[in-house]
């Protein structure tokens, strides 16, 4: 009977090898898939089990993890949840992470390579792994002013430091309370999330960088002007500015706001045309320059490029091979031209910074749990969009807009403000979007701002950029100048 015993023992060996192979498949070869399975709560528990880093604004934590007595150990908590939701995003056990909670996740949970030494230190000290703190470039007072000014209106405000590219304010309206989604009660979270999803005014969308991009309307005339200056025009170059401009090859015409004439003799300078935002003049200028130079200039400021700040920013769009009438429409920021509010802030910022567009960024400093600096974002030139001389000329023209043009509502006593209004048509039955892009002080710019109020906000059909958006930009710039005077900017 020895022979069959040997054979059985070989079969048993094969069976055990099969088990070992199956265990290897589960624990090593296929472990990645199993660990990423959304039904696997272990990954989540492990993450929640560690102290997740905070978000810091002006030296104060705005998002942090509070120890609690449940399987997750920590509860994500917020001091001004709604105000910073667009930047920080939410951190949910059901719906995962968004915005900076997602892009900075490895730093926040402490697993990033740059935190290796900190981890090692924690290990030796017998401490729990701790995530890093993320210090944002946002300023609390600017966020607050921008949010207050927007109020219930749908829209967005973006403020940049023209010299560095720091995003000083990024407000989108309406917004949401991330605390609702951070709850550990999954039913509660599900309900809150469904409510937010079902709302028609899409509060989960960050309009500043990732919403449906907007037609920039007359604010796009800044790009036309920059292209014209580069093409050899100067501020005094006379443009053809009729009351109505016929579009070649069509029966359509372009008129001015309210159907008014721009000037008595159908002629006006480039500076004046920008000052009163004369549509026919810029439409004609567009056809004269042709689409190529305008397209290039728009791209010089960042159009068609998607960037990460580190939130990913939707690329602003341009029409492809527009014919003459389409070029005319595009030149006044209609047709297929689209821009994010951040893109428009970058236009203002580039003009303000002598033609150099700095790369916008939201994260200033990353600090490990022991407060040592892990990473500091250095300002970086994004694009050189204009010559210094052209930028200064355009700045002067923009000062004219605020001094005695369409943007007088943005005037700040004792400070020269450069700006441009925009009133973008959105269709036959809907009110136009009100835009304002600006920077101040004009001679030594500290802050560049873009404001959009969707569909005229509370004013509706009668809205213009000058009436609705300019006062908001004014308030934000005023706060910015205040901060600069206190040495905080």
């Amino acid at each position: 009977m020895n022979e069959p015993v040997r054979r059985v023992s070989v079969i048993i060996l094969l069976l055990v090898l099969t088990l070992m192979a199956a265990a290897s498949w589960i624990q090593v070869l296929n472990a990645g898939d199993l660990n990423q399975d959304p039904r696997n709560v272990r990954t989540l528990y492990r993450e929640y089990g560690n102290y997740r880093g905070t978000f810091v604004v002006d030296g104060e934590s705005v998002v942090w993890s509070e120890p609690v007595d449940d399987p997750y150990n920590y509860q994500r908590s917020y001091s001004n949840g709604e105000l910073y939701a667009a930047a920080t995003g939410f951190y949910s056990i059901v719906y995962g992470r968004t915005a900076l909670e997602q892009t900075e996740n490895e730093l926040l949970n402490g697993t990033a390579d740059s935190l290796f030494w900190t981890r090692l230190g924690n290990l030796f000290a017998g401490e729990q792994q701790q995530g890093a703190a993320i210090e944002l470039t946002l300023r609390h007072s600017l966020q607050q002013v921008a949010a207050e000014q927007l109020g219930d209106q749908r829209g967005s405000v973006v403020a940049l430091n023209p010299e560095t590219g720091e995003v000083l304010a990024m407000v989108t309206s309406p917004t949401y309370d991330p605390a609702l989604l951070a709850s550990h009660d999954t039913t509660e979270v599900n309900e809150a999330y469904q409510d937010l999803l079902n709302r028609e005014d899409s509060p989960l969308v960050n309009r500043a960088i990732a919403g449906d991009t907007y037609p920039p309307g007359s604010t796009f005339k800044l790009i036309d002007s920059a292209a014209a200056l580069e093409a050899g025009y100067d501020e005094d170059t006379e443009l053809y500015a009729p009351q109505e401009l016929e579009l070649p090859g069509t029966s359509n015409t372009i008129g001015n706001y309210g159907g008014e004439a721009c000037s008595a003799d159908d002629q006006m300078t480039l500076a004046d045309a920008l000052r009163i935002s004369c549509n026919t003049a810029f439409a004609d200028l567009g056809m004269d320059l042709q689409w190529g130079p305008i397209e290039r200039k728009a791209e010089d400021f960042g159009w068609t490029d998607s960037i990460d700040i580190p939130l990913s920013v939707t690329a602003s769009r341009l029409p492809e091979d527009p014919n003459e009438p389409q070029t005319a429409m595009s030149a006044i920021g209609q047709y297929d031209v689209r821009a994010t509010p951040l893109q428009m802030a970058m236009v203002a910022s580039g003009i303000a910074n002598d033609g150099v567009v700095m790369k916008p960024y939201l994260v200033d400093t990353v600090r490990a749990s022991d407060l040592t600096v892990v990473d500091v974002t250095e300002p970086e030139v994004y694009k050189e969009a204009m010559t210094r001389a052209d930028a200064n000329t355009l700045t002067d023209m923009m000062v004219g807009v605020v001094d005695n043009g369409t943007g007088t509502a943005a005037q700040i006593g004792g400070v020269e403000v450069a700006g441009k209004t925009g009133t973008a048509e959105t269709g036959q039955d809907t009110a136009p979007h009100a835009w304002f892009v600006s920077f101040a002080p004009a001679d030594d710019p500290k802050i560049a701002v873009a404001v959009i109020v969707e569909n005229g906000g509370s004013v509706g059909n009668e809205a213009t950029g000058g009436a609705v958006a300019a006062p908001i930009a004014r308030a934000v710039m005023q706060e910015g100048i205040q901060l600069a005077q206190e040495g905080d900017l």
């Binding site: 009977m1 020895n2 022979e3 069959p4 015993v5 040997r6 054979r7 059985v8 023992s9 048993i12 060996l13 069976l15 055990v16 099969t18 088990l19 070992m20 199956a22 265990a23 290897s24 589960i26 624990q27 090593v28 296929n30 472990a31 199993l34 660990n35 399975d37 039904r39 696997n40 709560v41 272990r42 990954t43 528990y45 492990r46």
Partner: protein, 442 residues
């Protein structure tokens, strides 16, 4: 006359003691680690724990030295290691769940080791067991069918494999296993010649004579009864598998095994198609990760176990550092998944290797012992342990459908632990004879 000096090789008792020393270190360290990670490391408790293990090991050693000096020296250290690691993991789950299974399992370990010692003291020669062949057969069958008695059997998780004795639930199937191995060994050693007779040739293979098919059909019917009425696929498979393995060892006829497997397959397929409980098990096995099957709850436990093992990876989270408590029955049916999570693939491989060592020592004993009954007994016990491990671990790792058996020596459960310690007692007893130098009789 010249006297030949018989070298009394004290076959490996010292090596056994050394291995047990190593086992003791592993067992006590495992518990220390679990306590430390639960922030409850009491040195006094740990010292008592270490002392109890040392006492068990040393007592077992001295008893073997006296009553079975030639017994296999590897079996005990391997079994102690499994038992100790199991208790550490159970204790670890106790911390997470607020239960106290670890302490109870420790008591059962003491009971099991005592039972082993008593069995070795009472049974000085395994051949005596052959006298009780039919008694063992009757006892085995009765134990298997006991849970079906109304008022006595308890249904747990759909399977009716428990009985209630004085307020305690007992799993008689674990003991039936031993009785049936004794019965099969006695029966087959007597009838192997008849059963080995060649019958009709079919598909190029000699099949047994139809008139000899009686016992096979009877055992098959009993296995089907267990599957259908006790709804215990695992016990049924184990019971029938042990019989087939021993039948093969006795007759060396593959045709018996194939016939038996064919019969079982037909029965299993029929059950899978008609019995909802069995069918659900098959569904959960084949489509475990399918969202529909998962959300219906049938594969949830299995998949949670897979998640646990996957999170352990190659080296595991460390004892007390994972979340094995997220898997239902982490301390019993799914202790393999718990250990896989916390000790990693490395740890699981080590555990499987320990089982492999135990089983191979059983087969080595079977080959070494001279009497046919002993060969079948040791071989049958080896097959029983191996099959049980395969059915349990295979179920958890999705090699086969999940069933309700428990991992020998690791899983929480008094019946299982006690029965398996008795299996070890029998193996030690047979191995003592197998390894005894010729000419030395006591």
């Amino acid at each position: 006359m010249a006297t030949v000096a018989v070298v009394t090789a004290r076959a490996g008792r010292r090596a056994e003691l050394a291995l047990m020393g190593l086992t003791w270190v592993i067992v006590v360290l495992a518990r220390a680690l679990v306590d430390y990670n639960a922030a409850y490391l009491e040195l006094v408790d740990l010292a008592i724990y270490g002392a109890v293990w040392a006492a068990m090991m040393v007592t077992a050693h001295f008893v073997l030295d006296k009553v079975a000096p030639h017994a296999d020296p590897v079996l005990l250290p391997a079994v102690f290691a499994l038992n100790g690691v199991g208790i550490a993991e159970i204790r670890r789950i106790d911390y997470a769940e607020g239960t106290s299974f670890g302490g109870q399992q420790m008591i059962w370990a003491v009971v099991g080791v005592t039972a082993m010692i008593v069995a070795l003291l009472l049974l000085r020669d395994h051949r005596k067991l052959r006298r009780y062949t039919y008694t063992a057969g009757f006892v085995g069958l009765a134990l298997y069918l006991l849970p079906l008695v109304p008022g006595l059997g308890i249904t747990v998780n759909g399977a009716r494999i428990w009985i209630s004795v004085l307020g305690h639930s007992v799993q008689p199937g674990e003991f039936a296993k031993i009785a049936l191995v004794i019965f099969f060994a006695g029966y087959l050693v007597t009838n192997r010649d008849t059963l080995a007779l060649a019958g009709p040739k079919f598909l190029g293979m000699r099949f047994p004579r139809p008139r000899d098919m009686g016992p096979l059909l009877l055992v098959w019917a009993a296995a089907m009864l267990i599957m259908v009425y006790e709804r215990d696929l695992g016990a049924s498979l184990l019971f029938f598998g042990i019989f087939l393995g021993m039948l093969y060892i006795a007759t060396q006829r593959l045709s018996w095994v194939l016939t038996g497997m064919g019969l079982f397959f037909i029965g299993g397929a029929f059950a899978a198609l008609t019995i909802p409980h069995v069918r659900a098990r098959f569904d959960a096995w084949l489509h475990a990760l399918d969202p529909e099957v998962y959300s219906s709850g049938t594969s949830e436990q299995l998949v949670r176990g897979l998640f646990g093992m996957a999170s352990g990876g190659l080296f595991g989270t460390g004892l007390g550092e994972g979340r094995p408590d997220l898997v239902p029955y982490a301390e019993s049916d799914f202790i393999i998944a718990s250990l896989g999570e916390e000790l990693g693939l490395t740890g699981l491989m080590a555990i499987l290797t320990l089982y492999l060592i135990i089983v191979q020592r059983a087969f080595r004993t079977s080959i070494g012992v001279r009497d046919g009954f002993g060969k079948l007994l040791a071989g049958g016990l080896g097959v029983a342990i191996a099959l049980q491990v395969f059915i349990v671990v295979g179920g958890v790792t999705r090699v086969i459908p999940l069933t309700g058996l428990t991992a020998p020596f690791l899983a929480y459960g008094g019946s299982s632990l006690l029965a398996n310690w008795l299996v070890i007692a029998l193996l030690l007893r047979v191995s003592d004879l197998a390894r005894r130098p010729s000419g030395e009789e006591d």
